[in-house]
Structure formats: C-alpha cells, structure tokens
Amino acid sequence: MDFNDTPEEASFRKEVNDWLSSNASLKKSPQDSGMAGMGEEDALKNAKKWAAKLYESGWSCLHWPKEYGGRGSTPIERVIWGQEASKYKVPGGFFEIGQGMAGPVLMMYATEDQKKRYLPPMAKGEEVWCQLFSEPGAGSDLAGLKTKAVLDGDTWTINGQKIWTSGAHYSDYGILVTRSDPTAQKHKGLTYFFLDMKSPGVEVRPIKQISGGANFNEVYFTDVKIPDEQRLGSVGDGWKVALTTLMNERLAVGDASGPDFQEAFNLACGQDLNGDLAIKDGSVRDKLADWYCQSSGLKYTKYRNISALSRGETPGPQASITKIVSGNKLQEIANFGMDIMDAAGIVRPDSSGAEQNMYQMGFFGAAGIRIAGGTDEILKNIISEQVLGLPQDMRADKGIPFNEIPSSNK
C-alpha cells in the first residue's frame, strides 16, 4: 500500500507539470481560481482562450480518441491531469457538459460526418453545448418528460419546455430528449436529438436563483424544426441514450465547491467564541472532527478509485457517496462559519469580506448542489438499487400508456 506513481504515471505527471508550469500560474489557495470578480462574458472568453491553447498543445479532452480532437489517454492519465491542473489557476466551468456528456454520446450514436463536424470544435471550446433534459414536471422522474416531437417527412417539430438548463444562454448546441409517442409506456416513447440553439422557435429565459445569480435557464420550444439526421439512437430509444449521458454525468460530478474542513478549522483558530478561541470550545472541536473524518473519508475513497484505475480496473461503486456527503457537509460548514461570526455572519460584506462571502455563498450553493445532477434522495435510490441490489419502489405508472398516467391532483 502506497501513494506512489508507477514509473509511467510519474513520467506522465512530469510531462503534465512541465506544460502547465510554463502555460499557467499556480494557485495561492485552493479557493483561488483566478476568476474572482470576473463577469460571465469575460470568464467565457477567458475559458475559450484556454481551451484553444489546450487543443493546440494536445491537452484537450484527454479521454477522447485523437481523431476527434482528444488525446487518447488512459483513465489514470486523465486523473493525473485533473490532479495537477487543480493546482493551477486554469479557467473552467463551460465545457464540461459538452466534453463530458454530449461528446461521448455523439461518439456512440452520431454519423462519422457528424462526429468530424461537431467533436473537434467542442474539444477546442469553440462551440459550447448544453443539456436539455429536465422539465417543470420531470425532474427526479426524468422519464416523465412531455416535450413533444412529431415527425413529418424527415423533419421533426418540437414543442414544449425544458428547465434547469445550465449555460443555455451562451450555448451553441444542445442535446435534447423528447416524447415522440405519448401512447407508448413512459420509458418507451422517448427520442433523443441534438440541435442548434439558434434554431427559430428556441427561447432562453434565465432563472434567478436563491443566491441572486442566474446560471441556468428555462428553454421554450415553439415549432422548432430538427432534421431527422440529428436524431441520436432509434425513434423510441431515447431513454437508453439518456442513460448513457447520465452515467457520464455521474462520473463528472465531483465534490461540492466551497469552504471545507480546513477553512472551518482556520476560522476556529482565529476567531473568538465566549472569550476564548473558538477552537478551544468542545462543541466546535466535536463538529470539526466530524467534518475532518468526512473529508478524509472522501479523499481516501477517491484514492481507492484512482488505485483501481491505476491497475487498469473499473473503480468500485464507492464514488457514488461523494456528492451526498460533500453537499451536506458544505451546508453544515457554511452554517457553522456564519454562526461563529454571530450576527455579522448574515451581513453581506464589502469587497474586503471574502471570508464572510465564502460561507454565505456556500450556504446557498449547498442547497443547490444537494439537488443538482440527482437529488440526495435519488442518489440514495441509486445506491440502494444499483450498488446494493435492493428492489425498485412500487410504481403507479408501470405498464400504462404515458398519456394515461396521472400528472396532477386535478
């Protein structure tokens, strides 16, 4: 048992570091992204510039085949890249849906011409993609989606509404699941497409979040035309294609970002509570110890996964606990941080109050992360069914044509 690289891994890590150190600057702290205070438009420009640089130097989409703009790396090499890149101020946050989810689906289901047309610009960051899955009436029960797709000749007409679409307002293309046959059973009448977000009839409206920001949108479709050649998978097979996408989503979702044990510990070491340093307080120590054990547990769970990849094996299912544990921990730590600051904890700080802001943003961010990409409850279903093999809950909609399933109490 050790934490050492194999000789191959060590030489790859060196290669990564050599390139990163001459093309990016090191972070001063884990929270230091180098993007603080940057507006979304500038951040996107900045990210596109960085993505292009990666592409030119052969560091784009490590897990993709070379012919589509990737590097053809092994999974462990991708991990090493991620570890090293996280030490540097490198822009991110715009291409994950495309490169992590849409790209792999195109590779499985698109024609060769389409792959050649769409994948390299996706890898280069020239074209941004979004994911049009959830609907107002279909969140955790995603297969309950209703956006209508009707085929006439070789053109589909789309009508309906999607929601929680991250980045729809700056995306060039989207992957879309629709209901093509409402008389079939729920999972059987779905069809999957990709489309140009500038198609006539596509309307993007930002959603204001509890934090005040607007990272995601509602997307309305009114008689939007999609050529049949942009269908991915067979008609009625959309659920299968969507599951491939979601599998990649789960691999892509990592830790909740925000204050963690170390930040809370530093705060407790520097801040007074009841006339002494907060770190001397028994209840503070008790909580800190719990968070340390959770952070450590997640860190070494990750190491177990990396070790499996290093041996060329598929990692066990233990990574499925990451989002549940880190989201809830973040919510607790954010509350703790503000609590330590007493009444001042809720006062929105001026530019000098970065620490206050970090806990306040964690307070809102945690409430979101516990829902995004699978709620805590859905993830527990996934753990119990797919990891532990427990049976599915009884479903009231099984075997019934979709258009006969009750969808409200009216």
Binding site: S296, L298, T301, I306, Q318, V325
Partner: protein, 370 residues
C-alpha cells in the same frame, strides 16, 4: 497510486472470513454470551493454530514477522464474526506494548509465548467512572510494588498478565503484572456485552516489572493506543458491514403491504445511509492501515480518524439494523443485539468518541503550527 491491499492480503482476508464462518464464530459469540464461559477456548485454539496471534511478532521471537496490513484484514474479519476471544486485548494491546516498549529481556520472555498463544495479555487502564487522564490515574507504584484498582479490564479474568498504568512520584509509568501473582484480586464484571469478558483487578503491594523505563509512560501508552485504534477500527468496520448485510438480507425477505420492505424508500435510504457510513469508514481505515504499516508521521491523525469514523459507522449500522428488523430485531433470538452490544463494547474499549475527537483536533492543531 496503490492505495489498496495486495492480492495476497485480500486472499488472507477471504481465508479468514471462510475460516471464521466454518468455525461458527457468531454462534460461539452467542454461546459465550448466554453461558458462564469467559471466551471460546476452541475458537481461540484454532486462531492460534492459524498463526494469527503471531502475525506481527518478529521472527526472532518465533513470530511470523508479517506486516500490520495483514493484521488489519484479520481484524476486520474478527469484527465481522464477533469472535468471542481475547484477540484484541492480547494482540492489539499487550503484544504491541511489548513489541514497542519492552526491553530485550522482556521481549524474549513474553513475545514467543504470546506468538504461540501460551499466554494471553491485556491492558488495565480505567479506574473510575471518568475517562483516565494523566492527572486522574491513582494506582500507585512504589519500590516496584503496585497498589490500586483497575476496572472494566477486557479479558482481565482470562489474561495471564496485564500491562497496567500507574503513577510513581507523580509520573505515569507502565508496568507488567503477572495476574497469577499473590496480592491480586480479580473480580469478574458483568457488562453490556457478555460475549467478551471483563473484570476489575485490585492490587495490594503487588510485585511488578516496569515496562517502559523512561518517564513518558503516558505518552508511550498513547502511542500504543493509537496503533491499537487502527486495529480496533478494522474490527468495528467488519461489524458495521455485517450489520448492513444483515439489514439488507432481512429487508429483501420480509414482506409487508404486499411487497418486500426493501422496496420502500424509508428502508432503502436507511440502508444507503449505512453504506455511506461504511464506505467513509473503510477509506479512513485504509488511511490508518497505511500509516500504521509505514510508521508514518500522520499516524496520530490517521488512527483517530479511522477510530472515529469506524465507531460512527458501527453505531449507525448496528442500531439501524435493529430498526430494519422491527420487533424481531428487539428479540433475544435474533443476532442483531449481539452486534449492538459489541458496537458499544468496542466503542468503549480504548477511549470514547469525545476522547478520540479531542486527540484528532489536538493533532491537527500541532500539524498546523509546524
């Protein structure tokens, strides 16, 4: 990165599990619980024959000279099967104390016999209803003679000798006491987990040997407890996972409202919570195992982390296993309570959650100052 047990160690673990199943370790735990026996002598003999008591003892003292990773996987299986033997006291505590602190003569005297199972050792540390501290230890050592009383000594009425904490001129020292010597009174104590025996031991001017000759007896003991904590954590991890598996199996087979209760989200989420606790504990235990086997500077942190995490996992899984079983889980007949009892016993054995949490934060404060 190779943060995983080797294929040989995994094989050893599988063998250990099969061996303990074959020995009906769990059934024997119930027998010890229900009868007047102190431990299962046949199981203990078989364990000795397997060589497990000799695992980490150096070859020069007739041990196997294997690493701590091997001992960790054995500990996990002993925990899973609730093995009713003095293994933890004798191997994690007494043997460790001798290997780490013993003089060459003491090692020569004790280690070969510990390896062969000829003698059993334990640690006697607690004295009152509060946790022992450097200040409140009241057993006295004068002119090589020990006076005072230790309570809740696990295997105190089985062991041939005990490592005992006592004060000499205000400083804590560790001594070795032959429990068959005169001027010792051993009283069995009934506990919440009678599948493991406990006793109070009173010393009256009992002749003892000093174990560690330096003045840092308290620090020396903390080092031993840290090392043992990783091994106890593996027992707790094994117990936790056994409870999760029991809950799962019962929920699959138990029908209510026309379907298996395992299909209700209230039960599924409960079992998913057990899984989360077990996986966090497992990853932290691996960290502890690595630190223990490499004598890493992180050992204090790693030991406390694995101990806290595994105690929490066993607590979560043993209580929710009863809950999943409903009324049957509350019966004497079902095995749920054996794990519930052992969970509490192991949680108390080398210091409470509060103590280990304090150790963890202390250690992180020290690391932060460097």
């Amino acid at each position: 990165m190779n943060f995983e047990f080797s294929s040989d160690q995994i094989l050893l673990k599988d063998q250990a599990r099969k061996f303990l199943e074959g020995e009906e370790s769990l059934k024997k735990a119930r027998e010890v619980l229900e009868n007047d026996t102190l431990y299962d002598e046949n199981l203990w003999k078989s364990i000795i024959e397997m060589g497990w008591t000799a695992t980490t003892i150096p070859e020069e003292f007739d041990g196997l000279g294997l690493g701590y990773l091997e001992l960790c996987v054995i500990a996990e299986e002993l925990g899973r099967s609730l093995a009713p033997t003095p293994f933890s006291s004798s191997v994690y505590l007494a043997t460790e104390a001798l290997v780490r602190l013993g003089s060459p003569e003491q090692q020569k005297t004790y280690l070969p016999k510990l390896a062969s199972g000829e003698i059993i050792g334990t640690l006697a540390h607690n004295e009152t209803i509060t946790a022992p501290t450097e200040k409140n230890i009241s057993c006295k050592l004068e002119n090589g003679q020990l006076t005072g009383t230790k309570i809740a000594v696990t295997d105190g009425d089985i062991a041939n000798f005990a490592v005992v904490s006592a004060k000499e001129e205000g400083k804590v020292k560790l001594c070795i006491v032959d429990l068959n010597a005169s001027n010792i009174e051993i009283e069995p104590q009934n506990t919440l987990d009678p599948s493991r025996s406990h006793a109070s031991i009173s010393f009256k001017s009992t002749k003892v040997e000093i174990l560690s000759s330096n003045d840092n007896g308290w620090e020396d003991l903390q080092k031993i407890l840290e090392r043992a904590a990783v091994l106890y954590a593996f027992e707790q991890l094994g117990g936790a996972e056994a409870c999760m598996d029991m809950a799962k199996e019962y929920a699959m087979g138990r029908f209510a409202f026309g379907r298996p209760i395992a299909s209700f989200q209230a039960i599924k989420h409960k079992i998913a919570d057990m899984y989360i606790a077990v996986e966090l504990a497992r990853s932290n235990c691996y960290f502890g195992a690595w630190a223990l086997s490499t004598d890493a500077p992180e050992l204090t942190t790693a030991a406390a982390t694995s101990r806290i995490s595994a105690s929490q996992a066993f607590n979560e899984c043993s209580k929710e296993n009863i809950q999943t079983h409903g009324g049957m889980g509350f019966t004497w007949e079902f095995d749920c309570h054996l794990y519930y009892r052992r969970c509490r016993q192991l949680a108390a054995n080398i210091g409470s959650q509060a103590i280990w949490k304090d150790k963890l934060i202390n250690s992180l404060e020290r690391a932060n100052q460097i």
